[in-house]
């Protein structure tokens, strides 16, 4: 088994390039803030950032000047408010314009599916009688080859790099996820290069003992990075809860460009990596996010010789 274990610093240095289309997926759950911060630290520029819900991580990356374009379907600080660094650029080109390409959730999911399955488009029953196709000319009508029905189509999304946070993987990159699955699988299969960031590195035998839980096979993974609490302030099912205080605190920081710069200087550029960030947050804050137990039942795959 070839090991793909590396540091997040080396993975980003090698696999994320200026001008790339980058998808850091994860729907509320499993958002790789660790990788986003590493991309900011390495000062990548002119990225196209794709994500259903840009969340605080893309507000930080866009506020840091990493991106020229955003591809998305819901733009907000979930449960809290707005992403003001993104809004400044969209509403007043401050400090520079941000190109946007906007879909619905099903449209974004379908774009990854088309990318992952090597098809020229994904058909769906959305967008009828809305202004979205006018706002985005990549949302087009298509007639069924088997009858008169007309539906909408969206083009494949094939990121240069997908970055997937997960509970665990083995050194070969066989990756297991539970809880909200989001588009982790679709984004990984659609991408040219895949970085997996995990809470825990496990032995291959752990993966093989529960193959139904494998979402991303090592076959398509380029790098495996181990970063405990790498999804903070988002959450990892069974490991830690969302740090909602952080999301609330982000609102005033995001509103004020000087405060945002100061935050990036302290919490991103001012630390060497995730371990130092977590140490800076403090053990008490992290401990308070630990959930109580709710183990799954054990299934028996059986032995067949």
């Amino acid at each position: 088994m070839d090991s793909k274990l590396t540091t997040l610093r080396d993975a980003v240095a090698e696999l994320v390039r200026d001008g790339d289309t980058v998808a850091i997926e994860g729907f509320t759950h499993l958002i790789s803030f660790a990788a986003g911060h590493e991309i900011i630290r390495q000062r990548r520029r002119d990225l196209t950032l794709a994500r259903l819900t840009p969340d605080v991580i893309y507000d930080q990356m866009i506020g840091a000047g990493c991106a020229r374009k955003l591809v998305f379907s819901w733009l907000g600080n979930p449960g809290v408010g707005s992403l003001h660094a993104v809004r400044r650029r969209v509403e007043s080109a401050d400090p520079e314009p941000l190109e946007i390409e906007e879909y619905s959730h099903h449209g974004m999911v379908g774009r990854y599916v088309a990318g992952a399955t090597n098809l020229p488009f994904y058909p769906l029953r959305s967008y009828f009688e809305t202004d979205l196709p006018r706002a985005n000319p990549n949302i087009r009508q298509v007639r069924s080859p088997f009858g008169p029905e007309v539906v909408y189509a969206v083009p494949p999304l094939r990121p240069d790099v997908a970055i997937i946070h997960a509970q665990r993987a083995d050194a070969a990159g066989n990756t297991q996820i539970w809880g909200l699955l989001g588009c982790q699988k679709e984004a990984a299969f659609a991408a040219e290069r895949v970085i997996v960031v995990v809470e825990e590195l496990v032995d291959e035998a752990v993966i093989r003992a529960d193959p139904n839980r494998t979402v991303v096979p090592g076959l398509i993974v380029d790098a495996v990075c181990v970063e405990p609490f790498g999804a903070h302030p988002s959450y990892v099912q069974g490991y830690y809860d969302r740090d909602n205080r952080f999301y609330l605190d982000w609102e005033p920081i995001s509103r004020d460009p000087a405060a945002l710069d100061a935050w990036l200087a302290e919490w991103v550029h001012g630390v060497s990596g995730r371990a130092e960030y977590i140490a800076k947050l403090g053990v008490e804050r992290i401990a308070a996010l630990r959930p109580g137990p709710a183990p799954s039942g054990v299934v028996d795959y059986g032995t067949y010789r």
Partner: protein, 274 residues
């Protein structure tokens, strides 16, 4: 959620509990939860719908199956979810799927009875804007966008809307159509049928002042006024002259049990009811 924050702006007196002992936000949440009686499967939108469905599950509809766009079917949240991706909707759920499966198999397949949405702007035909205020290319205010709302409005069998009324939110003409309602009115049903949409469109709008359903011309009609609200207030918080049912009903006030659930169990910090 921006919808919630912006819609709440400038309505101070509407939020405080009055002499009646309940606030208008509480009345709105209770009225919307009651509308879910008898429904089977509800797709839960961002913001206020979240507390309404959790109240309905504890009152009028214990068997209500909650569907969250994050990929959860049959959620049984132990605490009020902070967002539609909260881990509490996963633990104890019937099924957790990829978002592809959720949108394709559950929603587009036609398994959702009610899509429950919030909105920044709505017109008299129930067309919804959650994308921009002003011009799309240079918006005055950039709102979150569709999320799943566009396809929910098309594919859910019925759509429920919950939002506070104001001249800014109940408008003659929405700035952007994110989610289709009854389109231009009476033709809406025909267009939905001809284009093969599964959904019949919006069927109820619950606000802080009353409950609206849609008449045969596809237009919103005020059917019930909440206790303490007046017709003058209703007219003063929307951009068009509303149709009013005759006789106009009075919404039964929240029961002590409903208020206790909201205040003590679901939202003790007043996130949704402030």
């Amino acid at each position: 959620m921006t919808e919630r924050l912006s819609a709440a702006g400038g309505q101070g007196p509407a939020s405080a509990p009055g002499e009646s002992g309940f606030s208008r936000s509480e009345m709105m949440i209770v009225a919307a939860a009651r509308e879910l009686a008898g429904q089977r499967v509800c797709f839960v939108g961002v913001g206020l719908p979240n507390i309404c469905v959790n109240l309905a599950q504890r009152t009028v509809n214990p068997g209500l199956e909650l569907v969250y766009e994050s990929g959860v079917f049959g959620a049984r949240p132990a605490r009020l979810p902070l967002s539609i991706g909260d881990p509490t909707i996963v633990t104890g759920a019937t099924a957790v799927t990829s978002m592809f499966e959720l949108f394709a198999y559950y929603l587009q397949r036609g398994l959702v009875d009610v899509g429950f949405l919030g909105a920044a702007q709505i017109d008299r035909f129930g067309n919804i804007n959650t994308t921009v205020i002003g011009d799309y290319a240079r918006p005055k205010t950039r709102l979150p966008g569709s999320g799943g709302a566009c396809e929910i409005a098309i594919n859910a069998r019925h759509v429920f809307v919950i939002m506070r009324q104001s001249k800014r939110s109940f408008v003659e003409r929405i700035d952007f159509r994110t989610s289709p309602g009854n389109l231009g009115g009476a033709d809406g049903a025909r267009i939905r049928r001809e284009q093969g949409w599964l959904g019949a469109g919006p069927s109820v709008v619950v606000t802080d002042l009353g409950i609206y359903h849609f008449d045969e011309t596809g237009e919103m009609r005020l059917d019930s006024l909440h206790p303490g609200a007046t017709l003058a207030e209703v007219r003063g918080t929307m951009a068009w002259e509303p149709k009013v049912a005759d006789p106009l009903a009075l919404t039964p006030p929240p029961t002590a049990a409903e208020l206790r659930l909201i205040r003590e169990e679901l939202d003790p910090e007043g996130v949704y009811t402030k």
